[in-house]
Structure formats: C-alpha cells, structure tokens
C-alpha cells in the first residue's frame, strides 16, 4: 500500500457540485442496471405484465365492449399501455425502500457524494423500465392485430408521453417509499392509490357507460386524459388537448411530490 496524501495537501470541496450530482446519478443508475443483471426477476413485471394484460383484456372484453377484438384494440392498447406502465412505477417506491434498508445504503451515506444520487439514480433507471414496458405493449398489440393509424411517429410520441407521465407519477410512489416503514407497506399503500387511478378511468370502457358519479371522477382523472392523449397520438398521429392536460398534470405532480420526496429523503438519508 502506498503512503496516503496528507490532509493539508488535499483539495476538499465544501459541497458536491451539480456536475458531481449528475455523475453520481448515472453511477447509481448503472448500479441499478448491474443489479438487474443478477436478479432479472426484478424486471419480470415490465416484460410479462404487458403481455398478460394485453392478451387477457383483449380477448376477455373485446367481444362484449366493441363487438370484436380487432375493433377494440385501438381503444384498448393505449389503455393497457398506460395502466401497465403506471403499475410498473409502483416498483420505484418498493425498490427504493428495500434499497434504503440494505447495508450498502449506510456506506453511501458516509461517502462524499451528492445526497440525492441514490434517489435520482433510481428514478433514472426507472425510465428505462417504462420504455421497455411501453415497447412490449405495442409489440404484443401488433402481434394480435393492432395497426396504429398514427404510424411510427405517432406510436413513438405516444410512448414518450407515457414514459414522461409515469416518471412524474413515480415521484408519488417514491414519496411513499421514503416514508413507509417497510417495502410491504409501500406496496400496499401504492396499490391503494394506483387501482382507483387506473381502473376508474376510460382505460377499458367508454366513460359514457358509467354511472354519473363515477363518470365524473373518470372524466376528471388525469389518467383518462393521458389515455385519450395516447389514443390520439397512436391512432391518428394528432396532438390533441388531452396531451396538454396530461403533461400539465404530470408537471403538477412533479412540482408537488419532487420537493416533498427530496425533503423526506434527505432527512432520512
């Protein structure tokens, strides 16, 4: 072992710089990817869930709701897409909690890194999860006969919209993850937010068929706007008002939950 540098010869930074924060974020994201390689089952949800949900709902409801499966697909695929990807974002909170409970987190807390990096790294890796879930849903849709009218550009834009909005929503689950006592609690609490948000929407049925009070909620639900936006982009290639509403909703969620999460996280980290 070589002699160490004396304390008075060292250049010490009083605070981590923004450049360091970015670098640390990418290192943390890289770490998350390495972990996936060792435990691929962690990502089973982003690959299997879209396949399962798409096929199941298409053949289960296609006949009843739209007359046949083919006619149902343009409405269903965007709904399934949004639902699967948002469900995937719950995992952000669960994994964050699990990670914060492991010993390695204690070391991160003694390293001169940007404090936010473990959180921002996790959120960064998650965008990749959303992208995979999105691609899977469109691929399965195509395999069972979905031909999006918006073409490739429409589909890519729709996918991006879903990734951005899910990333925004994952701040809610990250917040729950930081505050909750255990990973199981995170899971339970997150699904209580998730189910009403995704099912009480226009994802699977036209809202006109719903009772008035439910229809009121479903029409207001930002997830419905997101789904409508995705349908427009994927099926017609047009950017409608709902895309704007969805992005606005995403911005509001981030504006509220990002500071809350970061503050709670920093207090614990």
């Amino acid at each position: 072992m070589t002699a160490i540098t004396a304390v008075d010869q060292r250049v010490l930074n009083p605070h981590p710089s923004l450049a360091q924060a970015l670098r640390d974020t990418f290192t943390m994201a890289w770490r998350a990817l390495l972990r996936v390689r060792r435990t691929p089952e962690q990502w089973a949800d982003v690959v299997l869930q879209p396949i399962l949900f798409t096929v199941m709902f298409a053949f289960l409801f296609g006949g009843a709701i739209a007359g046949d499966v083919q006619t149902y697909l343009p409405a269903l695929i965007p709904g399934i897409l949004v639902q699967s990807v948002i469900t995937t974002s719950v995992v952000t909170g669960v994994q964050l909690r699990e990670d914060m409970d492991t010993g390695v987190f204690d070391r991160f807390r003694t390293l001169p890194i940007a404090r936010i990096a473990p959180l921002s790294g996790a959120l960064l890796t998650d965008t990749l999860r959303y992208a995979i879930a999105t691609a899977m849903t469109f691929a399965v849709g195509a395999a069972i006969g979905y031909r999006p009218g918006g073409g490739l550009v429409g589909v890519v834009l729709a996918g991006l919209l879903v990734v951005v909005c899910s990333w925004a929503l994952s701040w809610i689950f990250a917040f729950v993850g930081v505050l909750a006592r255990s990973a199981t609690t995170v899971q339970a609490m997150s699904f209580m937010v998730l189910f009403p948000l995704t099912f009480l929407s226009n994802a699977f049925v036209p809202t006109e068929t719903l009772p008035t009070w439910l229809r009121w909620f479903a029409d207001l639900n930002p997830v419905s706007h997101l789904i409508t936006g995705v349908r427009e982009l994927a099926n017609t290639g047009q950017v409608g008002a709902d895309v704007g509403w969805a992005l606005l909703g995403a911005a509001v969620v981030v504006a509220i939950f990002a500071p809350l999460t970061v503050r709670a996280y920093m207090r614990k980290a």
Partner: protein, 325 residues
C-alpha cells in the same frame, strides 16, 4: 480549499445522543492524535457504534460537538466525508453485486475514472486476498471475506482517517491476526485508525490509546499500559471454602501481595490484580498458615469485566473468559 495541518484527527467534546428515554451517548470526549490507532472499548450497548455514527456524519448529535481534522461534523459533513473511510459493524456492501462491481461503483462515487476505479479495485482485491472471488456474487462469501471486502471498500480513496466498528468480531483467530496486520499497515502508510472493540486484548495489541466507555460515558482513558496497570496484567480469583473466611483472604492478599482485592456481589469469589505470578505461592502459604481452605483457584488475564470492576466498581455484562484454571 487548503487547510492547515492539525494535530487531532478527531476531537469530540461532550457528544450526546438520546434515543427516546435512553441516553445512548452521554457526554463523550475523545481526542485522537493523527497517525495513531485509537481504541474505543466497551461492552454491548455501551454506545460505541452510536458515537462512531455521529463522528461519521451518519447521526446528528443531540449535544456537544466533534471535529475531524478540524472540520465540524455537523457544519461541514461533505468535507468530513472526504476525509473518512468507514467500515461499519454490519457489512455495507451490495449483496447483489460481485466484489469487483461493488468496488468499482464506490470508486466512481469517490470521483475516480472508470479506468482508475477498475485498477484500484483490482489492487485492493489482490491486497485482501479476494482476487479469486472477485467476480462471484457476494451471497456465497464467508463472513471473513465480507469483512475484508468491506474494509477494502473503505480504503478506495485512501482516506487519512479510518473508522472500524468491531473489525474482528466473528472472525477466526487467524483471520483476526491478519486483520490486525492490515490495520497496522494502514497506520504505517500515514492513516489514523479509530476502532471499537469488546476485547481488551485487541485494544491492547493495536491501540496507542484506549477509551473505555460504558453507558454512554468514557469511564477511563489512557495508554494500554496505564489501563492495565490499574487492573494488573492478570488477576487471581480465589473461592474460600467458607464465605466467613472472606475477610481473612482479603487481609492476606493485602499483606502478601500489597494490593486491594475486590469481592463479587455474592461474596463467594475474591479477585485481586496480580503483577507477579511467583508471589501466588507466598499467598497460598500464608492462607494455609491462617487455616483458610479454598474451594477454587484460578488465574485470568484481565478481562473487560475486571477493567470495569476496577474502574467503575460494577461488573460489565460480558461473560468471563477462563484463560487458566
């Protein structure tokens, strides 16, 4: 930012940490000279880990202050973290990654380039005899391997100050002595080491100075020789056959060995510091002359228990270690 050379690697004054009703650390003062090994000795629950956590910026002190090379741990945590390597009591490495992946990631987080991180991790794995296991998942690492990897991870940035929380607990004797050698090597390269231990023997072997803590307070501080002088190099345990003989045993120890003996709470056992084992014969002759019969006799190396018995007058909750009977 350059700083002036400072003589103290760690300076803590009146550190306090309260968990609910429990004053886990209750006014700890510590001064660790740069370039030395400092041992914090104490039984389970004494507050060793809590003290170290406050010094390592992991816990915020509820009272008092602490500086690491002159930098306040509360006001300048980021600077303190740049000067520290911490090996906690529990392994703090990522179980789902390989040894190399762990070290490379820590290297990146410490500001090394990819290339430098890889080189550094190969160098450290080699130094700690982990090269063969470098790419295996940690799940099947032994306790000793994990401990070594953990220490290696603390040394990536070659920090001038290293905290080791019970570095040898749970290691077999051979691995333990390897760990001792490693710690001595660290100091030879210019690092300062602050370690905690439950073993007087270990503190004695390694540390230049020792602080004994109990119930969150420093109850004794000094060089190992100073501490041992207060308990003797070994101690003699006598069990009078009849408890009524206890006063006569105490008197005999006083006249023959010239030391003050202590009696266990039950009054069944008398313990005396013993500087010269040769004098035991004289004592036994004196007891025979006084017609005192013994039910048991043993000689023990000073245990943490005796340090506490002598210093605080109360036993510490550690089991006796019979060395010779």
């Amino acid at each position: 930012m350059k700083n002036q050379p400072v003589p103290w690697a760690v300076e803590a004054e009146g550190l306090v940490k309260v968990f609910g009703e429990n004053r886990a650390v209750d006014g700890v003062d510590l001064r660790v000279a740069a370039g030395s090994i400092y041992g914090v000795l104490g039984p389970n629950g004494a507050g060793k880990t809590t003290t170290l956590s406050m010094l390592a910026t992991l816990l915020r002190p509820d009272g008092g202050r602490a500086r690491v090379f002159g930098h306040d741990v509360v006001a300048e945590p980021h600077v303190v973290r740049q000067l520290l390597g911490v090996t906690g009591q529990a392994a703090s490495v990522d179980e789902k990654l390989s040894a190399t992946e762990n070290l490379v990631i820590f290297g990146r987080l410490l500001g090394l380039s990819w290339k430098a991180s890889r080189a550094k991790s190969a160098e450290l794995l080699e130094a700690f005899g982990l090269t063969e296991a470098a790419n295996r998942p940690l799940a099947n690492f032994s306790g000793g391997m994990r401990r070594r990897l953990d220490l290696a991870a603390s040394l990536i940035a070659q920090p001038p100050l290293i905290f080791l929380d019970e570095p040898t607990t749970g290691l077999d004797p051979r691995t333990r002595s390897q760990m001792w050698d490693t710690i001595r090597d660290l100091v030879a390269t210019g690092s300062t080491v602050l370690l905690t231990t439950q073993y007087l023997d270990e503190a004695d072997q390694l540390a230049d100075r020792i602080a004994v803590i109990d119930h969150g307070r420093v109850v004794a501080e000094g060089t190992p020789d100073e501490l041992k002088a207060s308990v003797g190099t070994a101690s003699l345990h006598l069990e009078p056959a009849s408890p009524s003989d206890t006063p006569r045993v105490l008197a005999a120890i006083d006249t023959v060995l010239g030391v003050r003996a202590t009696v266990t709470a039950e009054g069944a056992r008398v313990t005396a510091p013993m500087a010269d084992p040769g004098r035991v014969t004289d004592l036994l002759v004196a007891l025979r002359a006084a017609d005192v019969h013994l039910a048991g006799l043993s000689v023990q190396k000073p245990t943490l228990d005796e340090v506490f018995l002598t210093i605080t007058g109360a036993g510490a909750p550690v089991p006796d270690q019979e060395v010779a009977a």
